[in-house]
């Protein structure tokens, strides 16, 4: 299918690349289907472009690649997904100022590679995702990406 993105233009996306977020995101309940697009030349960043609105997208960070100590296992456990799921954190850029960018370590986005989140036995090949909340982890909601940045 063709996915329109206000940031990336027209994307031709194979059906099996689509990721379903059954509950959407907190505060953004209609953000339920998206696709991961690597950011050119910045291998740790991805756009999570949603299909319902060209302007709907998150900037995600491949947190495992950047911070090997981050507790991805806890995120997968909270999301109740298989161990081969991928964990990303959402990047916020306040006032369009990249040096103030923060990432949300408290509520990471967990994306399964194939299985249905709510039904681990399901044979569906559809990729599913969810936003996990790491209660009592001590991880901050706004972790500054850059020294002297926001938080």
């Amino acid at each position: 299918m063709i996915v329109y993105s206000s940031r990336l233009g027209e994307l031709s996306v194979a059906e099996d690349k689509l990721i379903t977020f059954p509950h959407g995101f907190w505060g953004l309940p209609e953000w339920q289907q998206g696709v991961l697009v690597p950011v050119a030349d910045a291998p740790v960043f991805f756009w999570l472009q949603f299909t319902h609105d060209p302007a709907a997208a998150f900037l995600l960070l491949d947190i495992a690649a950047l911070a090997p100590d981050y507790d991805c296992a806890a995120a997968k456990a909270a999301a109740e997904v298989p161990a081969d799921a991928a964990v990303y954190t959402i990047v916020t850029i306040p006032d369009q100022n990249l040096s103030l960018a923060t990432t949300n370590l408290l509520a990471p986005v967990v994306i399964s590679t194939s299985r249905d989140l709510s039904h681990p036995q399901a044979t569906s090949d559809k990729r599913q995702g969810t936003q996990a909340i790491l209660h009592d982890s001590g991880y901050p909601l706004r972790f500054p990406l850059f020294e002297g940045g926001g938080g």
Partner: protein, 124 residues
């Protein structure tokens, strides 16, 4: 709002499958136990509010020059992953100058970056 008085150990049932029990009361702190089906998210209100607000703030990353700025922070000529690690707090720190976001980036560059991303994705 329905207000009910309960003693320690007493329960409240919400619908057919959600159960609330007063576990303990110590001063002004009430400990509650909650049993609910797996699909029902249960969170402290202030955490829910904070994450909701943060999601909405993150949704506002509509900056066209993010890709361009990121690209300049991660030169394609070097090993991107190593380069990325160097600019983040997680590992070796760098001076703020190195992450100055005032990267010069023309509108044409932005478009190219976007198209490039799309092209790479299609190849993938």
């Amino acid at each position: 709002m329905l207000v009910l008085a309960r003693k320690i150990g007493q329960k409240i049932r919400i619908g057919s499958d959600i159960e609330l029990v007063v576990v303990a009361v110590q001063g002004d702190v009430v400990r509650l136990g909650i049993s609910a089906p797996k699909g029902v998210p249960i969170h402290r209100q202030e955490i829910f509010d904070a994450i909701t607000a943060e999601n909405q703030a993150a949704a506002d990353v509509s900056v066209a020059d993010v890709i361009c700025a990121l690209a300049k922070l991660h030169p394609p000529s070097s090993q991107g992953r190593v380069q990325a690690r160097n600019i983040f707090l997680f590992s070796p720190k760098v001076s703020p100058d190195a992450v100055d976001n005032k990267v010069e980036c023309s509108a044409r560059d932005e478009q190219l970056s976007g198209k490039e991303a799309a092209r790479k994705f299609k190849e993938d």
